[in-house]
Subunit: 144 residues, 2 copies
DNA sequence: CATTGCGTTAGAGCGCGCTCTAACACCTAG
DNA sequence: CTAGGTGTTAGAGCGCGCTCTAACGCAATG
């Protein structure tokens, strides 16, 4: 088997068949080859490309930027430019990951604080419900 | 200064004034106190809550879920439930981070491969432009 | 033969999270 | 007294990324 149906590619890539067709329509994929019955037959290369697209999306690249990238690939040249695009994206992903990790740490602190208070409360009377005040935590964008 | 204007809170939290008003409208914040001129005066607690909201959003919590959380806080009780919600969210964030990191590693590999090929090309003739095939990389959802 | 299932197309629709607008109110500076 | 800046409200609008629909084709099955 050297080519795949759309539902096979959907399953393998995690994208829906709808999305695969849509990606093709908007130029993220070159026109995929059709069989004699008019149905798409994805090549191995198509599949790999789809998987790459999914990687880019999963890391938050915009569809518009994937289109630019696809356009560069399609036009054959501009390898350096393509790599710049990828590396630029890489930087953004790193930033975004760092940001999320920072926020996660803050949430962790909050959960811990809460759990601690909860066990104290278990041994004592009402915790005076000083809630609404809620978040004694470090900011993502820096507070005060 | 024990209270803040909307633009101050906007700057400190990273959310726009528009968004702050909208968050209040949809119940993510309790009604913020107004000064004699009808303008919002955010308390320290308000600010901290806004910052928490921003943390939750940054880590990808849906507005709908933040509303549920806010509702729990508003109703005073349900601390355990609240913590469950946070811990559940924590798990999702961890998953999402792992996924993104995996995709990032794949991109890194691709960039490296590309750069290697590029330097080879520099020393040799045309690289036979076997492109379009593009992505020889591991899948996010597992391939084949 | 009719049904079932999978595919095709172009285009409409949707959920999300803002973001902007219009019309108005107030305060301060020049 | 005007003009500018900052705020208020309710509601409309928007960009994104799908996701679904309608109408149809084709092949295999009972």
């Amino acid at each position: 088997m050297t080519s795949w149906t759309i539902s096979q590619v959907a399953e393998k890539s995690g994208l829906s068949a709808h999305t695969l067709r849509w990606y093709e329509r908007i130029g993220l994929l070159d026109r995929v080859e059709r069989g004699p019955d008019g149905r798409r037959r994805y090549s191995e290369a198509d599949l790999e490309w789809v998987v790459l697209l999914n990687n880019l999306r999963t890391t938050g690249m915009r569809v518009r930027d994937m289109q630019r990238y696809a356009e560069l690939v399609r036009s054959g040249g501009g390898e350096a430019e393509r790599m710049d695009l990828l590396e630029q994206h890489r930087e953004l992903v790193l930033q975004s990951l760092a940001q999320q990790e920072a926020c996660l740490r803050v949430l962790d602190r909050k959960i811990k604080t809460y759990r601690r208070r909860q066990s104290e409360t278990q041994a004592g009377p009402e915790p005076a419900s000083t809630e609404g005040a809620a978040a004694e935590c470090a900011p993502p964008t820096l507070v005060t």
